[in-house]
């Protein structure tokens, strides 16, 4: 495929510390995005790989084209699982100069991977060992000299191989509900840092951008994860969080700013971001917020608990479910409680009784059937569009398919995608 991907497939052998590239043929043979990612996962499955990639449209001006992914074998199920790379991480992966990244084997020492403009550096992470994800992000960004570097890292939970481990994206929760953070820990891979100044080509740029911008103009621009919770019948999280809300934030190219930044170490009406050093956190997990609210927590300690989980590199959905019903108030006891989480296998959306999981994890909203949920995820991870946005925005999949020819000169439809991803 000549368009929409920039660079080759990178294969990182952690055991030898060597990297090599090869042509990204999977996109033509298996399909874009997750289809290619799963093919690479299968090819390297003997080496317990993590495959990092992005969808066909990730990094473009298509609404919510923010989505990248990590594929690996979930320690929770022993089966392959997909976890999202949202915020700006997916777009940076797309522009990193590597179409897909396969990370295989186990490193003999702690390392982190620095992907930038088609260069892959495997760097020593000895001095990052034991740091939480906030400290790790700060250290790597300081080392690289740039705050726009996206850091996908694990905290103490991942290093310890906890079944609750989840990688964080910079400082925030990622939606890794498959414990792929524990897989990173097992590989002694502390972090993946990524920044690229690459550019994407489209097959028919004027038509592609016209259609993408037209879609954006019709997309809902809703604010806050409270809206997502309401849409998914998970309670009035918006009202609960409101006293702490400082701003709303979207992922790359998304018209809907569904993440909510809350301040609890300084008044939320202080607009500046240069006052208190760590004034609060970005709440990225509607499920965690819904579990804690429903479990009797006040908003401020709940946010502190989510911060502690993000720092520790703990899956917020399962961590919050375990904490629900045991509300705490003091900061130190909250931190202790988070550190003492045992790793319950129970997960899922508060209003869902679906048992754990398939390829796409347990985040099953009640407004969609399992078939609809799986279809939205397949579509989202193949094309690089946020599945939550697909389900909550009323976006017509046919419109996304219509973008594929001008984007990449390919025809795709739901049937084709169902054939690419099981």
């Amino acid at each position: 495929m000549d368009f929409m991907y920039y660079g080759d497939t990178l294969v990182v052998d952690l055991e030898t510390g060597k990297t090599q590239t090869r042509e990204f043929t999977e996109v033509d043979e298996e399909g874009p995005g997750l289809a290619a990612g799963l093919a690479l996962y299968e090819e390297f499955s003997d080496a317990e790989p993590l495959v990092v990639g992005s969808g066909l449209l990730t990094g473009t001006t298509v609404p919510a084209a923010c989505m990248g992914f990590v594929v690996g074998r979930s320690p929770l199920t022993g089966e392959p699982a997909v976890a999202p790379l949202s915020l700006f991480a997916g777009a940076e992966v797309k522009l990193s100069g590597f179409a897909m990244v396969v990370i295989k084997g186990v490193s003999p020492r702690p390392v982190y991977l620095w992907l930038h403009d088609g260069v892959a550096d495997l760097l020593d992470a000895s001095d990052l060992t034991g740091l939480d994800t906030w400290q790790t992000t700060d250290r790597i960004r300081r080392e690289m000299g740039e705050a726009l570097v996206q850091v996908i890292s694990i905290g103490p939970a991942g290093e310890a191989g906890s079944s609750l481990a989840s990688y964080s994206i910079n400082y925030w929760g990622s939606g890794d509900t498959a414990a792929l953070g524990a897989v990173m820990g097992a590989k002694k891979l502390k972090a993946i840092a990524v920044r690229g100044l690459g550019m994407l080509d489209a097959d028919d740029p004027p038509e592609f951008y016209r259609a993408a911008l037209e879609m954006i103009s019709r997309s809902p621009a809703e604010l806050g994860l409270g809206r997502v919770c309401a849409a998914l019948e998970a309670g009035d999280v918006a009202t609960w969080l409101e006293p702490l809300v400082h701003r709303y934030r979207s992922c790359f190219a998304c018209p809907s700013a569904c993440s909510t930044f809350v301040k609890y170490r300084e008044p939320p009406d202080v607009l500046g971001t240069d006052g208190v050093e760590e004034p609060g956190m970005l709440v990225t997990s509607p499920a965690a917020a819904a579990w804690l609210r429903g479990g009797g927590w006040d908003a401020e300690p709940a946010c502190r608990a989510m911060e502690a989980m993000a720092r520790q590199g703990v899956d917020m959905m399962r961590g919050a479910r375990e904490l629900a019903g045991k509300p705490l108030a003091g900061e130190s006891e909250i931190i202790d409680a988070v550190k003492g989480l045992t790793g319950s296998m129970d997960a899922g959306w508060p209003s869902s009784d679906r048992a754990y999981p398939g390829l796409f994890g347990p985040w099953v909203p009640p407004l969609a059937s399992q078939e609809e949920w799986d279809a939205a995820n397949r579509l989202g991870y193949v094309l690089g569009i946020c599945p939550t946005f697909i389900m909550t925005s009323g976006l017509d999949a046919a419109e996304l398919f219509a973008l594929c020819p001008p984007a990449a000169g390919v025809e795709l439809d739901a049937e084709a995608i169902a054939g690419m991803v099981p």
Binding site: H116, D117, G145, E146, L148, V149, L197, M199
Partner: protein, 463 residues
Amino acid sequence: MRGRLERAARDPVLAPYRLAFSSALARRAPSDRRARRDAPSGYRRAPDTCLYPSIAVYVGSGASHSWIWFADLLERCGLFDVDFVDETRVSGSGLERFDFLLLGGGDTYAMADSLGGRGAEAIDDFVERGGLYYGSCAGAYLVLTGVDMEPFAPFALLHGNMLNVMADPPAPRCLEHKYLARYGEEWVFHPVYGELFLEAAMEARDFPCFAAAEALAAPLLGGPVMSADDARDVLAVFSVLSRHAAYLWPREQARALLDGRAAVCATERGEGSVMVSGPHLEHPLFPGANALVAEMFSRHCMRLVDNGHRPASGTTAHPDDGRAGAIPAKDTPGDSGAALLEVKRQVSNSRIVAFGLEKIPVTWTIGLKVWEPEKVRMFLEVAWFRLPYVQAAATRVPAEPAARLAEGYSSVTEMVKSLKIKVESGEDSLADAESLLVTLKELTASFLWLYFRLRLEDGAVQD
């Protein structure tokens, strides 16, 4: 941006010049089979009427970043025998082996000071012997006879003057930091900053670039509005104002100053030629203006052939002067893949930090020149977008200059990081910025020298 550059590179306006110079290159190196093989079959003129020139680009004291646009233009014209000279080489006998000398924008005072009387004499000799001097912006101010205060007095190649000077200019409407430069008791001022349109004067009415468009767009970025003592020396005048410019004066007043005034002048001097331009005709986003320069290059080369001029020896005998990237004459080519990968790694690291630096509102005034953070990335991208070509030729790149480039760009990464930390913390960063920009300028020149050597070895380009 890259898309615009690529479109400019493919612009058909320059195609005839690429053809002419490519055929000249094929003749110049008859032993080079690759060059012969790649030579185009159609010639713009008979094959023996265009010389393939050796070109010196001034990158010494006072030169800003704009000389990298010369590199872009020369590459798109198929002119690869290019070297980069500083004041020491100009003032010594360093111009003897060249046919063209190109001086772009920057701090005219610093240029004149550093070149000095010996430099002025060397440039004068160079032109008298048959060289082409092309100066844009600062390079134009420098050689106008009317700009006759010290340290400019020794530089007098074209009889004319600057008109954008007055004792008490009015306050600017915007871009105050770009507005004024002291000139004795007066001030050189810039009423417009950005795109303007140029019209052909009588002497240039038959130039193909003006036949293709009534008016050429070109950027005026602090260059002179001129008068020429001899009206026949005027090639182009300012005509229509553009929407894509910042007006430091009210538009009507700016129009009154500019309209019909000389923007580009050229004259013959001894065996050689002098061309000066207020706007940066060499800017890569202005292909029509590029074609005007290419036309003058081409005419000068033909004139030299008509006069029986022997081509200059070019840069192939360039001694190793210790700069990173200068290929020592006796060095043996080897596989430099690892060192070039390190160059890529460090240029990428530097670009990433430099991009972040651009988000911080800071400028540095070095001499009379105001530098913005984006200039850092402009230097880095010269190497970045040419690295794939150099990496593909890694087996022909000698190990030592490749290693020096790797070391140089590695130090640039640390310098940019350190500069950014200082800027973010509000510390005085001027000395760090100056040191970084000087290093980048030298390193970029070294990289380009290596790149053009490879392009020259590979011979003519095909459209």
